[in-house]
């Protein structure tokens, strides 16, 4: 039977449990990266062409990656000038692009293993460093940036050799919009649509 004193002592612990402290976030982020990486490996290492695995990988991406957050970041200042319909069209295309790029890139990681090196805070998120060993290729270092804004861990960026995926993507999109008159997001949406058609045609052929 709990005494009054033991109840009193448990209050601070209950309060602490309502918000995950930073040290736990680091552990949680590292665990999350391990789980996600293992799930990806399981799909990639299955026999058969990559195009058959796109569905399974899309499911992992949807669950583990903050796709809308990255999409908003990648549009940068143009998010504010886009109409609601344009935002919706853009995010939908961005999602398809991400899945397509991820599937395309992961094909070369067949048989790969990875180790988790260290986890450290980075601009409010957690940066989990990993080393990827792929048979017949040089070892690669990759940082997974894990955010907790939605209440659960989600991947918000990937950093390889100091280059951030979402920052690079933003430069690409900004250049397309700027070169097509300056402020029209429609130019980007059209270009994305054309590129997606081309990529899908190439993968089937």
């Amino acid at each position: 039977m709990p005494t009054r004193r033991s109840l009193l002592f448990s209050v601070p612990f209950l309060l602490a449990a309502s918000r995950v402290p930073a040290a736990d976030e680091a552990t949680e982020a590292a665990q999350f990266v391990k789980q996600t990486g293992d799930a990806i490996r399981q799909v990639v290492d299955q026999p058969g062409p990559m195009s058959d695995k796109r569905g399974a990988l899309a499911q992992i991406v949807d669950q583990a990656v903050d796709v809308d957050g990255i999409g908003r970041f990648a549009l940068g200042r143009f998010w504010n000038v886009a109409t609601p319909a344009q935002r919706q069209a853009y995010l939908s295309l961005f999602h398809q692009f991400l899945v397509f790029n991820v599937t395309g890139r992961l094909g070369q990681y067949k048989g790969a293993t990875f180790t988790i090196d260290r986890t450290e805070p980075m601009n409010g998120d957690m940066a989990v460093s990993t080393t990827i060993h792929t048979p017949g290729q040089p070892t690669a270092n990759m940082q997974w940036i894990v955010g907790f804004a939605s209440g659960r861990p989600q991947i918000v960026d990937l950093v390889a050799e100091g280059t951030s995926m979402r920052v690079t993507q933003r430069s690409d999109y900004a250049s397309v919009i700027t070169r097509n008159g300056g402020e029209d997001v429609q130019a980007l949406i059209d270009a994305m649509r054309a590129q997606l058609t081309r990529l899908q045609g190439g993968s089937n052929g």
Binding site: R77, G104, G136, E161, T163, V167, D172, A174, V176, E183
Partner: protein, 259 residues
């Protein structure tokens, strides 16, 4: 074919056009333009296209052949030997950047890999706690506080800026092999090293380059961003002295230092 080259040479001055900055009434666009810092963009884009066309019939097939003919292990060894040859210049730059730890790393790497690593074929030093790091005169200038200047895309050098172009020239001149004279042996050796380095580097980056060209909407802008971020990360690492370079044997038991 010759006529084409002549025409191109004549057209070059006309191509040195500048991009038009957005008007002051669009402060966000103007800030983005300044951040991109690519005032020579029209010229750079032409040079990018031409370099791509030239690489498609020269470097790309050479790199494909190189990848086809040699397994990853051999390619890795060649890359190690070339990297080892660049150690003296790297050491000089570490010293100029006043990074004693990184200079120590480079020196130990050179001593270990040149002897036990059989002339640099095997990177033994990496496993002994002396990991490789990039170091060149462009980085030295950056550590000294020299700004990069506008973005440039140059034939042969690719994505660069005035600071890195000058750095590349300084590193080439500072190579100790250059100081050994102009004998035919030295000249052949220099050209062989330059040629192998170019093909080896390009072959190593070929999958990544192809991936950008395949998926980016504007590969030129994507390469520009990748180059800038990559250099900034290298320079930041040179300034902070990371990664930690304590050799593995230093922290071995029984007396493990507390973290």
């Amino acid at each position: 074919m010759r006529f084409d080259i002549l025409l191109f040479a004549l057209a070059l001055p006309a191509l040195a056009a500048c991009a038009t900055p957005p008007p002051a009434s669009q402060p966000e666009a103007l800030a983005a333009y300044r951040e991109t810092n690519d005032p020579l963009e029209p010229t750079n884009r032409v040079l990018y296209e031409v370099s791509n066309d030239v690489a498609a019939v020269t470097l790309t097939p050479a790199a494909h052949a190189y990848r086809w003919a040699l397994p990853e292990g051999v390619r890795g060894s060649i890359s190690n030997v070339l990297s080892n040859l660049g150690s003296p210049v790297r050491f000089g730059n570490d010293v100029l950047q006043t990074s004693p730890r990184r200079a120590g790393d480079t020196l130990m790497r050179f001593l270990i890999n040149s002897t036990i690593g059989l002339g640099g074929i095997f990177d033994v030093a990496d496993g002994w706690g002396y990991p490789a790091h990039p170091s060149d005169f462009g980085m030295t200038l950056a550590v000294w506080g020299v700004p990069p200047g506008p973005y440039l895309f140059l034939p042969l050098l690719g994505p660069t800026d005035p600071r890195d172009t000058f750095g590349f020239a300084a590193d080439t001149v500072a190579n100790p092999v250059e100081a050994m004279g102009n004998g035919p042996g030295i000249i052949v050796f220099n050209w062989l090293t330059l040629g192998t380095t170019t093909i080896s580097d390009y072959a190593q980056n070929l999958p990544a380059i192809n991936e950008v060209k395949r998926t980016a909407l504007d590969p030129y802008a994507t390469f520009r961003s990748l180059y800038r971020q990559h250099r900034q990360a290298q320079i930041a690492a040179a300034k902070t002295g990371r990664p930690a370079t304590i050799p593995v044997w230093f922290s071995l038991p029984p007396k493990q230092p507390s973290e």
